[in-house]
């Protein structure tokens, strides 16, 4: 649906040339919700503006729905833009127009008849739940309501793609949830491809199918949200994820004398991560039954990435060195993530 190839963007600024994007390759499939996450200054705003050519890439090609936008003239580009909706962090509504007139605006630009505009606007007002606000001005609306107007306006021309530029960053968590819910519904109902940029991992976790992490003008990691969340590779990614899923060891482990290899009379501490179906398997109890060991749970956490359960457990296993080895080998054959944190001498008081 959307292909960005080798996108580069350089600006001239007062401090010389700024290399905002340094060769971005992204492919987004029809009907996907694709999230791009990065800190401020990472280039995510520039990147999303390249998709509808509000910023013309210095190098590279942008293809949306089979049409190479980078090859078009200004005039042709304007027609193509009508098929790409966009919503903004600060909503960018026309303050001199009512809610109704704001939603009608793109239809006026497309030279629709008054009747067609009225039909479409009423339908959209209903969709975003603002029928009773139709004659109010943006200044009279709350942030969430303004963004709903923004969404209705973006959908007016029946776009195939919706670009969301930090669409929820100016909203409180409650309102963010409702706006994300609305976007998800629209995605399901109309098969609309949604690309959103954000600095909040929560947003990605809530609605995205795929995610790309951008840093310093480059995509440093991308994949399905489940993959990136459960197996983050880059440090920046880990940092983003740690805000909502804790991959770091709890502080209590800091003071322990952990040894990477078994010592005499030591217990094994492992971290197990469960994903989807593996979370339903009774791995620990069957391990205890099979091998002569004990297990105590030191730390646990369960989360949902959209509808998939994802949990981590930190377990201390005690028993004969031999049994521990076998238990570890057994765990490694199961469908779960396993990470040996270390061995600790048996009488150490872990939870103090």
């Amino acid at each position: 649906m959307i292909a960005l190839q080798k996108i580069e963007k350089t600006y001239k600024s007062s401090n010389g040339m700024v290399h905002a994007l340094k060769g971005i390759n992204v492919t987004i499939a029809q009907g996907e919700i694709f999230g791009i996450i990065g800190t401020s200054g990472a280039g995510k705003s520039t990147l999303i503006r390249c998709i509808n050519m509000l910023e013309r890439p210095t190098k590279g090609t942008v293809t949306v729905d089979g049409q190479e936008l980078t090859a078009l003239s200004e005039l042709e580009l304007r027609e193509e833009r009508k098929k790409i909706g966009m919503i903004f962090q600060h909503f960018n509504l026309l303050s001199s127009r009512t809610v109704y007139q704001n939603i009608a605006f793109p239809l006026e630009l497309a030279h629709c008849s008054k009747e067609a505009i009225d039909k479409e606007v009423m339908h959209l007002l209903n969709l975003v739940g603002l029928l009773d606000k139709k004659d109010q001005y943006p200044a009279q609306l709350s942030g969430g309501q303004k963004q709903r107007v923004g969404i209705a306006r973006a959908l007016a021309n029946h776009p195939k793609v919706l670009l969301c530029d930090e669409a929820t960053s100016a909203l409180d968590p409650q309102t963010t949830k409702s706006i994300l819910g609305l976007l998800k519904n629209i995605n399901r109902e109309f098969g609309l491809t949604i690309i959103l940029i954000t600095h909040e991992m929560q947003v990605i976790k809530e609605i995205c199918d795929k995610v790309a992490v951008i840093e310093g003008g480059l995509i440093i990691e991308q994949g399905t949200v489940l993959d990136v969340f459960t197996k983050p590779k880059a440090n920046t990614t880990k940092e983003f994820i740690s805000n909502i899923i804790n991959h770091n060891l709890p502080d209590i482990f800091d003071d322990l004398n952990l040894s990477p290899i078994p010592t005499e009379n030591s217990n094994l501490i492992v971290r197990l991560s469960f994903l989807g179906h593996s979370a339903e398997e009774p791995v620990i109890s069957s391990m205890i039954r099979r091998f002569d060991i004990d297990a105590s749970i030191l730390h646990g956490n369960i989360d949902h990435i959209q509808t998939t359960p994802f949990g981590t457990l930190i377990v201390e296993l005690s028993g004969e060195a031999n049994s521990l080895e076998q238990a570890l080998a057994y765990l490694q054959t199961r469908e779960l993530g396993i990470e040996v944190i270390g061995y600790v001498s048996r009488h150490a008081d872990i939870i103090s």
Partner: protein, 217 residues
């Protein structure tokens, strides 16, 4: 006060109103488009064109920095060319308009630049052409500020029109000088000043009212 005096006052009031109205209209007619060009050809705006912007900027500044009384005399040849004479109410309209055009242009320019660029970007994202952005986004969004700016222009023109007496333009200011000052008629002086104050008040409150009505922020 004699009936002659009243007729003179009425005639002067009409002359002032006529000069201000016509030159106000002409200055808006030329100044608004000029202001639009100044705003949109600036750096990082929708019709970015630095050479054009700078040339227009210099011309506008030159016209604005010339004192009105000097401008009036300096452009007498132009006035003659346009009106056929350099004396009278119609002749005064030429320098008044020329003085007000750059004033309006700068006011419109700054009003348009106050429009949040995000809104312009949103219109671009919807496929709006520069012409559509100007007519459907910039002007409506900046209208309250433009109305207040035009109000200010009209008030300045009322003040300038008093100087038009120097080239026989007539009007209330001229009356105040010829009768009130030169013939020591304090009553005429007082009454013209009161009428001028009333006129300015009326223009200002009408402008304020319109701007308030249009401002939905």
């Amino acid at each position: 006060m004699s009936p002659d005096m009243l007729i003179l006052l009425a005639k002067s009031l009409w002359e002032t109103t006529y000069m201000v109205a016509v030159s106000g209209f002409i200055s808006a007619l030329v100044g608004v488009p000029l202001g639009i060009i100044l705003a949109t050809t600036d750096k990082r705006h929708i019709l970015e064109n630095p050479p054009l912007n700078q040339v227009l900027g210099v011309i506008v500044n030159a016209a604005r920095s010339t004192p009105f009384i000097i401008l009036m005399v300096a452009i007498i040849p132009l006035t003659r060319l346009l009106v056929g004479t350099s004396i009278g109410t119609n002749a005064a309209i030429v320098p008044l308009s020329i003085a007000a055009i750059p004033f309006v242009a700068r006011i419109v320019e700054s009003a348009l630049k106050e429009v949040d660029y995000g809104v312009i970007e949103a219109a671009q994202a919807m496929g709006a052409s520069p012409r559509e952005i100007i007519t459907k986004v910039l002007l409506p969004e900046a209208m309250p500020a433009i109305i207040l700016g035009l109000t200010l222009t009209i008030i300045s023109l009322i003040g300038y029109s008093a100087m038009a007496g120097a080239i026989g333009g007539g009007g209330l200011g001229d009356l105040a000088i010829r009768y009130g000052y030169q013939r020591f008629r304090a009553d005429i002086m007082l009454i013209t000043v009161i009428i001028l104050i009333g006129q300015v008040q009326l223009v200002q409150s009408t402008g304020d009212y319109l701007a308030r009505r249009l401002n939905k922020k």
